[in-house]
């Protein structure tokens, strides 16, 4: 990760390179569309037109971005400590389970009580699950990458088990829960749209991540461990403790995403929904340079692609999975842009060295 850290971008580069990656990613996806015989310019025009057709769709962009901001933070926060939390999907599912359980059991209480409880339980479920990964890393030096990846499939199985048994709807027909009572729905932010206060919660989470990372001594230690684990140890920092804390916070973000989806959009828990939010969070975090503000912007971009893409493909004959391909291409071009920046920087420093040599 040395490369990505050494290109901590300031100024124009911080805007230019992500835009470059997005543009190249969309261009490459456009090439794929031509393979299908579709006109990419026309498809992109439709995606744009659909995403911004009316207030409802624009609000939907932010509704789609909400869980993506949170899973982006889940990956990005750990990434700052040079830790790989690949298991946001599993932490998200456990957040969903905790939140729906809370809403089903306590839904009759006042919303002022239920909603905060759901938030707490969802964050705690995701955070506790993820902190086990951090613990394994700290105590046994196990690969956090491997364990967080594996734990996703365990969480998925656990959720499916609960949906088939204890949490199954009263009718007992499908592996899904009953609809939660209206008092436990997250109130809408804009009436008659799907945008709810969960978006504000996600922004607050991003602000919190920024505050922890750059305004507290804990954040300083997290970033120090991320920059150079050995140096941090020499400086007397307990990296094991940092691992557990980072994973707990990171998992809590993903768990919160479960709360916003269940209580804000779905109002129930259905087997196998949102299967990609964890993976998309990784792309978003990388595109946003693992910075909370960048993550928010990248999530909104992915949200717009999804809203516009899903609507546009209904009329253009291009399959909806093109949205996933666009996201994959953008990610690959982000990585490519890092390689490019390093090449450019080293060429620049060589030129400088040569010029200085000439002057002497």
């Amino acid at each position: 990760m040395a490369d990505m850290k050494s290109t901590e971008r300031k100024g124009a580069g911080a805007v230019f390179w992500p835009l470059f990656s997005v543009f190249m990613g969309l261009a490459a996806s456009g090439l794929m569309m031509t393979l299908l015989g579709a006109d990419p310019i026309e498809v992109y025009r439709r995606i744009f037109a659909m995403a911004f057709r009316d207030g409802y769709n624009v609000a939907d962009i932010f509704a789609k971005a909400t869980p993506l901001i949170l899973t982006g933070l889940a990956f990005g926060f750990a990434f700052r400590a040079n830790l790989f939390n690949i298991g946001a999907q599993g932490q998200f599912y456990l957040g969903c389970v905790a939140s729906v359980w809370c809403a089903l059991r306590l839904g009759h209480l006042s919303p002022w009580l239920v909603l905060p409880l759901c938030v707490l339980l969802a964050a705690a479920a995701g955070g506790a699950w993820a902190s086990l990964v951090g613990f394994a890393k700290a105590r046994f030096n196990s690969s956090e990458f491997l364990i967080s990846m594996m734990s996703t499939y365990v969480a998925l199985a656990l959720m499916n088990f609960l949906l088939r048994g204890p949490l199954r709807e009263a009718k007992g027909e499908y592996p899904q829960t009953d609809v939660i009572s209206e008092g436990s729905w997250i109130p809408q932010l804009i009436p008659h749209t799907r945008l709810h206060w969960g978006f504000v919660l996600a922004l607050a989470a991003a602000a919190l991540a920024w505050f922890i990372l750059w305004r507290t001594s804990l954040g300083y230690r997290i970033r120090a461990v991320g920059m150079n684990r050995d140096a941090a140890r020499y400086a007397g920092m307990d990296s094991g403790k940092i691992f557990v804390i980072v994973f707990a916070v990171s998992g809590a973000f993903a768990g919160l995403a479960g709360f916003t989806e269940v209580n804000g959009i779905q109002h129930m828990l259905v087997q196998g929904f949102s299967p990609m939010v964890g993976a998309e969070g990784i792309g978003i975090a990388i595109l946003g340079n693992a910075h909370p503000l960048g993550i928010v912007l990248a999530a909104i971009l992915f949200g717009a692609l999804q809203v516009g893409g899903n609507l546009a493909v209904q009329t253009s004959g291009v399959p909806a999975s093109i949205v996933g391909i666009m996201e994959g291409f953008v990610m690959l071009f982000v990585i490519l842009s890092y390689a490019l920046q390093i090449r450019l920087a080293s060429a620049r420093s060589k030129r400088k060295a040569r010029e200085e040599g000439d002057r002497r």
Partner: protein, 305 residues
């Protein structure tokens, strides 16, 4: 019952063995194939499409190897040539592959009402041996890929530990500077190994669509690429360790499948489905010492010597 379970275990361990072995080769040279899940998926896809549209199993398997190599080529360009981070690059390719599998299936076949199928790879009974009671049917009545996987393990052991090539591969992961000093290009060794691993991973993926199910679905791999990745780890980067690991995980997989279809509910299905993943976590945590290749995941920079 025992024969069936044993046969199932050998069957399900086949792609894990291939994938983990490919991972051993690559990681011995210092490169983790994080894209393994995506390569499995695209191999399953490519193998199915080629076999379905040409009617030839052989072409299907070749196509799976070709698409596996092509994916590994992209991975190699990013990680070996451009020296970008392996986990990040691999994750990007995995996301990309998930979208691409669905996308291309739709491009080729539209939205079929019924899932398209091919006859799965034929099982070959080894004359004589297959009539041994209990184990004969399980061990010697498998498809060609299973026999191939079994053959690749001793070959892998021999190549890694008894040949010049194996020495170069192992040294590249442990001490690339020495390999470089001996006049062998580190990047070439790594890139070549990544491509070969990609071909083997593609073949492993095709086992699921062509050797087992006879069809392609979007969740056909379902994390088994990661299990192969983990087996390489747990097998201590040794083909013999891979053999043991693949058998254990193949058995867990076969048990989950068999109990699911037989309707026996001693334990919840989901527990059996989660079993390989839980096993991996437990084994990863319990394992005290690993012979991790010294430069695993670290790009080689010639100038920095």
């Amino acid at each position: 019952m025992i024969t069936g379970l044993l046969a199932g275990a050998l069957q399900m361990s086949t792609p894990l063995m291939m994938g983990a072995l490919a991972e051993v080769y690559a990681e011995r040279t210092g490169v983790m194939i994080i894209a393994i899940e995506g390569i499995f998926l695209l191999g399953a896809w490519g193998g199915f499409v080629a076999a379905y549209s040409t009617g030839s199993m052989m072409l299907g398997l070749l196509a799976a190897m070709a698409i596996g190599t092509a994916t590994a080529l992209v991975y190699g360009i990013f990680t070996v040539k451009l020296k970008q981070h392996q986990i990040v690059t691999g994750t990007a390719i995995n996301i990309f592959a998930a979208g691409l599998g669905i996308f291309l299936y739709r491009v080729f076949f539209g939205v079929p009402l019924l899932p398209l199928t091919v006859d799965p790879l034929e099982r070959i009974a080894v004359p004589g041996l297959s009539s041994i009671p209990v184990i004969g049917e399980a061990l010697f009545h498998q498809n060609a890929l299973t026999y191939l996987a079994w053959a690749l393990i001793p070959v892998g052991y021999w190549v890694l530990y008894k040949t010049q090539l194996g020495l170069i591969l192992r040294s590249t992961g442990e001490n690339p500077e020495a390999v470089d000093a001996a006049g062998i290009k580190v990047e070439t060794v790594r890139f070549g190994t990544v491509l070969a691993a990609g071909a083997l991973d593609g073949l492993a993926g095709a086992f699921y669509s062509l050797g087992f199910l006879g069809m392609y679905t979007n969740d056909i791999i379902g994390g088994r690429g990661w299990i192969a990745f983990a087996i390489c780890f747990l097998g201590n980067w040794n083909p013999m360790g891979v053999l043991v690991g693949a058998l254990v995980f193949g058995l867990a997989d076969a048990m989950a499948i068999q109990l699911q279809t037989s309707g026996v509910t001693l334990v919840p299905n989901e527990f059996l489905i989660a079993m390989p993943y839980i096993l991996t976590i437990v084994a990863t945590v319990a394992r005290k010492r690993f012979n991790v290749p010294a430069t695993l995941g670290v790009p080689y920079e010639k100038e920095r010597r």
